[in-house]
Amino acid sequence: MSHDRDDRGRQGSEPPPDLKKERDQFLQTFAKGTKLEEFMQEHEQLQQRSRELENENARLRATLEENDAMRDLVHKIEKLEQEKRELLSRFREAEALSTRFSARFEQVENEFSNLANLFVASNQIHSSLSPRGVTRRIKEVLAQLVGAERYGVYLANTEGTELVPIASEGVPAEKLVPMLTEGTRVGEAFRSGSAIVDEECDPSQGTFEAPPAIVPLSIDDKVVGAIVIFATLSQKKRFDTIDFELFKLLGQHAAAALVSASLFAQAERKLPGLEAFLDLSV
């Protein structure tokens, strides 16, 4: 075979047709191989690109999902913020309500305390049938409930010209003298039948010349005496609502209790017989 080729080569530059054909076939095959290799490379590149695109796609999908989650989160935060605002508003409302209730509760408790003071004062004043006992209780109301430190209880003489001291506390003996009902501040309250209470000044700084409270004592609309408070305890810097109520109570009940006790003592502590109540025409 090799001899033939050599011979043919030697015979001319053109290869024999069969060899040429073979060569062409080979070249074609070679060319195809080269092409295939190119295809293969291209295929490989496309696969690579496809993988890259898939990865890219996956990344984009993940980002999209993340964005969705973020949107959900933001939405949730907004909802929670709104809920927080509503809760805060409700809390503030509840707090305001609670403050209102506390204030009301305090008011009711103070009112109760005042009523208790009035009840106790009235109950005590009428719980004795001896003039001494009544006087002691009036003094106790003045000292313990009003907080009076220096005071006097005066009753008017028959003519109504003088007020005579019948009980006192913290008043020096030289000051415990009858007071004229004319030309004095105490007399002014006695004659008018209206209490004089100095609401402007500190009652603990009161003096004998300028007593901070004068309370006329009445029985059945007739003024029979007066309670004069010359000064209160040092911690009592002003008269409160309850003090005015106590003044009213003392003004209306103290004299009646004193007179009743005096009459009972004059009657030698004998209770009136049933006949005294039979002709009341009521």
């Binding site: 208790a116 004062a121 109950n123 313990q144």
Partner: protein
């Protein structure tokens, strides 16, 4: 619900009545009254109390002696004691606190203050 007992030692019937009225506002508090220190000790010997409210100025046995006696009594040595004084008697108040009193209220007494002091010492809301 826990029940508490309080002993009021006060010679003035009016003040006693006022304290009873005030303390009636404290839920589950049973109040017993004594006329003076001696009566108070008698009542303390026969029953146990969760709190004692006592005046300072009393005949027979004053509040200071009562505080001293209560603090030396093994049964009541830890019982809270509230003393009632006047503003001017700082010395008595100091002495009472030194002897073991827990709190003081000045006259004229105010029911809300009495209630608050007793509730605080009994740790009631």
């Amino acid at each position: 619900m826990a029940e508490y007992s309080c002993l009021i030692v006060e010679d003035s019937p009016m003040m006693r009545q006022l304290l009873v009225f005030a303390l009636a506002r404290v839920k589950n508090l049973r109040v017993t009254e004594a006329d003076d220190g001696v009566d108070g000790l008698r009542k303390l010997a026969s029953a146990r109390y969760d709190i004692i409210v006592t005046d300072i100025n009393m005949p027979i046995m004053d509040g200071l002696k009562l505080v001293k006696r209560v603090r030396s009594d093994p049964v009541h040595k830890d019982t809270p004691i509230v003393i009632i004084t006047t503003e001017g008697s700082q010395e008595d108040r100091q002495r009472a606190l030194q002897l073991g009193a827990n709190a003081y209220i000045t006259k004229p007494i105010q029911a809300p203050q009495v209630i608050a002091t007793v509730k605080e010492l009994l740790k009631i809301d």
